[in-house]
């Protein structure tokens, strides 16, 4: 079967790092990601099924891996070689369409009894990650045993399957997983006013989820590009400003004072960072009010940030990783009601993965939001 495979090749990894720094997304051209003919993954045990991906999205965390910028934190919780792709809509052997909940919990790893978080439904907090009868992997798409969505076949545990209602298109269904992330992040926010930094896929979905979860919340969003501005407003942002305008917008709306250095004396009670760069985290800290919470929703990686404001203003920095199973129900509702399939701007076949990754890495500047692989026409798909 055809699959994009990410192997442990230090020299290529170094080349990807260099290329990715020069031009985001270029790691796909020179790095360890390659299109291969490989054997289909084995079913790891009872309860596992084969899934033929139909569409599989390219996420920010995928780009970080391809460009070699992701944190070494992941080393013990991924297994090489792996096939990326955790945003997946696929079909089962019986033809039914499913979205995948890619997080690999105790149940999927056949660990019994399940750890306390998994037992309580908090699969994203699994305390046995990296153990059990699977190769290490925090999610499908990072685990050698399961394969991933950037291929014509992967495996998933039946508890990872979410049936896709018939009225939902593949394009919309591929956004169920990132929307569930956004729903989870939104559920953590407890404030009447919030800023969302970033209007890529995750930022836009977080805006939609915040508006859905907290209908009366006042929502300020940043967006770099015109199409992002329009979508942010449409999906529920009350005010959309350029990233460089955010501090002033927050100051004006909160009535905060401003020191000579430009620092605000007040700010917002909650800030959601959907970018994860050191600039965005630093900006989040600058606009967070004393006692506020900064929610790190975009994957941050290794960053250098002045944490003095966090200390001096008693700001809490809280991560928002993945979701719980119930978040998928809300995500399906949102994807359906808001017609989020329109956020899929372009799809590529696997063989054009270099172009696909480059497009995803510069999606905003090119007027796009979500880029995905389209596996529906892959020749090998039918023969597996």
């Amino acid at each position: 079967m055809k699959a994009l495979v990410f192997s442990r090749k230090p020299a290529k990894f170094a080349a990807a790092m260099l290329a990715g720094r020069l031009s985001p997304g270029s790691g796909a051209r020179v790095g360890p990601l390659a299109l291969r003919d490989i054997d289909p993954p084995e079913l790891p045990g009872p309860g596992w099924v084969r899934v033929r991906p139909r569409l599989s999205g390219i996420c920010g965390s995928d780009l970080a891996i391809v460009d070699g910028t992701s944190s070494r934190w992941f080393e013990p919780i991924v297994s090489f070689p792996f096939t990326p792709g955790h945003e997946v809509v696929g079909e089962l052997d019986d033809g039914s369409r499913v979205a995948i909940v890619p997080v690999l919990s105790c149940v999927a790893r056949d660990i019994s009894p399940a750890c306390t978080p998994c037992a309580e439904g908090r699969i994203n907090h699994c305390e046995r990650i990296g153990f059990g009868n699977l190769e290490p992997g925090l999610q499908c798409g990072f685990c050698e045993s399961t394969g991933g969505g950037w291929s014509t076949l992967m495996v998933a545990h039946e508890q990872q399957l979410v049936t896709v209602p018939t009225q939902i298109s593949d394009e919309a269904a591929v956004l169920i997983e990132p929307t569930a992330c956004a729903v989870h992040a939104a559920s953590q926010v407890r404030a009447p006013r919030v800023a969302v930094i970033g209007a890529g896929t995750l930022g836009l979905l977080t805006i939609a989820a915040l508006r859905h979860t907290h209908p009366t919340i006042e929502l300020i969003a940043t967006a770099k590009h015109p199409h992002q501005r329009a979508l942010a407003a449409e999906l529920g942002a009350d005010h959309v400003v350029a990233p460089t305008e955010l501090e002033r917008a927050v100051r004006a709306r909160t009535g905060s004072m401003r020191l000579d250095s430009g620092q605000l004396t007040g700010g917002l009670p909650a800030v959601v960072d959907c970018v994860g760069s050191h600039e965005s985290i630093a900006q989040a800290l600058r606009i967070a009010a004393p006692g506020a919470t900064v929610h790190a929703v975009g994957m941050p990686g290794v960053t250098t940030v002045d944490l003095t404001p966090l200390w001096q203003r008693e700001v809490a920095l809280r991560g928002a990783y993945a979701y719980e199973r119930d978040d998928f129900d809300t995500a399906i509702d949102l994807v359906d009601s808001l017609d989020l399939g329109r956020l899929v701007s372009a799809t590529y076949p696997l063989r054009h993965f270099v172009d696909a990754v480059a497009h995803a890495a510069s999606a905003g500047a090119r007027g796009a939001v979500k880029i995905a692989f389209d596996l529906r026409s892959e020749k090998e798909r039918e023969s597996i």
Binding site: H239, V240, V241, A242, E245, R248, A249, R251, A252, R253, G255, S256, M257, R258
Partner: protein, 531 residues
């Protein structure tokens, strides 16, 4: 004998016409056969003995007023209020006429034994004047005598302990002015009436007031009903100020008004700038060479240097009249004198009005002409330079020439930045802006702080700039800015054009291909009397 202003019909022999363009200049060929140019009058003769005329005016007041010396008594409380940095434009060469008038008033006060004297820059919600600016306006002698004791200062419209509420007009408008002025036995107001909008009761009722008062006439409705605000008798802005004047009078506030008028000698009769004051077909070879050299030099300079050069220009205006006494009587004469210099009869409206906006307007002296001020100068001040009917017909096109940079002076215009980035990003509709945003900006503590302690215009000031242009905005079918930063121009809600020809082409979509064009050749200042 100075030649009056007039209307030139453009034909094939008409040379390219001067357009001011911020800190630069352009020469534009206007289409022959359908264009005309409205030229300002040449500078009227200046008074030869300004100090003598001032003394004469103080001793021979107009209207129901005693001579100033008769109003000055020992032990009395005297407040001299004077126009702020927004007048005149550009600033005048020393000695500023305010200094001359104030010195004359102080001489009389001293002779009468008045020793409780305060001098207040009547800046309303404008930025505070710096020491250098105050020294320029009142002179070093006056500044050194009063400022160190704290008796010469800027009005503070947010100092609630030093504001006095004096009542409401019959229209329910609240009147609140500077407490020291209100409590004085006499206010002497020293004005420079650069344009016909200035002066009269507006001096005190606006210059010394607070947001509480100002909001009653600095609003969209009032500005829509001021047609134009340069014509006192057709201006709701002035009617409101006059009603407030009645309240002041009824509350016992005594005002002795001194108004002065200046001639059109903005750029002088010698030196490189003088070419800007000449009619193009009368340019000599030397004038042309001067202009070409000046333009080439300016265009090669960094903007900061250009700005410094223009901001350092002090106009050699001549004083053409001094009137003193009772407010309304004084103002009638003053306005007539302003019109004598500026008013030009124009027959019929035009389809397209063009104007070159200079580097300065009332709110960016020693500062940056930001995009909001571009809108205010073009659609507010220049558009309203009419009596009778607007120069351009309703549904016509306004073409302004200005670089319109996305640039702000963060010290002078902090709330402008937010207004531009946030308010205009949402809407450019004056009524919506007023309803949704004005209160928030007016009451913002940070803007208040900067207005009171730094050199910032009040938080609400950019709203007033937008309202100033609202009549023009609703009147025009399209507004085009030539040579402006396209991002800024679009944020203002206007259309950018690279050249005047492009702009005229765009305008033809609205007013047709044979549309008539009128160019307002301003500055020096010209006002159209349109019939």
């Amino acid at each position: 004998m100075p030649r009056p202003g007039f209307v030139l019909e453009v034909d094939r022999s008409t040379p390219p016409i001067l357009f001011h363009h911020g800190e630069s200049l352009r020469l534009e060929k206007l289409p022959a056969g359908r264009s005309r140019v409205l030229y300002p009058g040449e500078p009227l003769a200046a008074l030869e003995d300004v100090d003598g005329e001032i003394r004469q005016a103080l001793d021979n007041p107009l209207g129901d007023s005693q001579p100033l010396r008769a109003l000055l008594k020992p032990g009395m409380k005297l407040t001299i209020a004077f126009d702020d940095i927004s007048l005149p434009l550009p600033p005048m060469r020393r000695p500023d006429v305010r200094q001359r008038v104030i010195e004359a008033v102080l001489d009389l006060a001293a002779a009468a034994g008045v020793d409780d004297v305060h001098l207040i820059a009547a800046l309303a919600l404008h930025r505070r004047m710096t020491e250098a600016e105050l020294r320029h306006a009142v002179g070093d002698r006056v500044y050194d005598a009063f400022a160190p004791q704290g008796h010469l200062y800027n009005h503070d419209a947010e100092d609630v302990d030093n504001l006095a509420f004096l009542g409401t007009t019959r229209h329910g408008e609240e009147v609140e002015i500077n407490k020291r002025a209100a409590d004085s036995d006499l206010i002497v107001y020293v004005n420079i009436n650069l344009v016909s909008m200035d002066g009269g009761w507006k001096s005190t009722a606006t210059g010394l007031s607070s947001y509480r008062s100002l909001r009653h006439h600095h609003n969209v409705k009032t500005m829509q009903q001021s047609r134009s605000f340069m014509d006192r008798h057709a201006s709701e802005l002035h009617s409101s100020n006059w009603r407030m004047g009645e309240v002041l009078r009824d509350a016992g506030v005594k005002v002795f008004q001194i108004e002065t008028t200046l001639n059109n000698d903005t750029f002088g009769t010698s030196g490189p700038m003088s070419v800007l004051q000449k009619r193009e077909w009368e340019w000599t070879a030397r004038d042309r060479a001067t202009f070409v050299g000046m333009k080439a030099g300016l265009d090669r300079m960094p903007i900061g240097v250009r700005r410094k050069i223009f901001n350092s220009w002090k106009a050699p205006y001549g004083v053409t009249s001094v009137q003193a006494g009772e407010v309304e009587a004084v103002h009638e004469v003053t306005t007539a004198n302003v019109f004598k210099q500026q008013l030009v009869a124009v027959e019929g409206q035009t389809d397209i009005l063009t104007m070159g906006l200079p580097y300065i307007c009332p709110y960016n002296v020693n500062s940056v002409m930001n995009p909001i001020l571009v809108m205010c100068l073009g659609l507010g001040y220049f558009f309203n330079m009419y009596r009778g009917k607007p120069l351009v017909r309703e549904g016509g096109v306004l073409i302004m020439s200005h670089p319109t940079p996305w640039e702000f002076n963060p010290v002078h215009h902090p709330s402008y930045i937010d207004f531009f980035e946030h308010v205009l990003a949402d809407t450019t509709d004056p009524l919506e802006i007023e309803a949704r945003y004005e209160k928030q900006y007016a009451e913002d503590e940070w803007y208040r702080h900067l207005y009171r302690t730094s050199y910032a215009y009040h938080g609400v000031h950019p709203f007033y700039m937008w309202y100033w242009g609202c009549h023009g905005l609703s009147h025009m079918g399209k507004v085009i800015i030539v040579g402006g930063d396209p991002r800024s121009v679009r944020r203002l809600g206007f259309t950018p054009a690279s050249t005047l020809n492009d702009a005229l082409e765009m305008a033809s979509d609205v007013v047709g291909r044979d549309a008539s064009i009128t160019h307002l050749h301003n500055p020096p200042i010209v006002m159209a009397d349109v019939t």
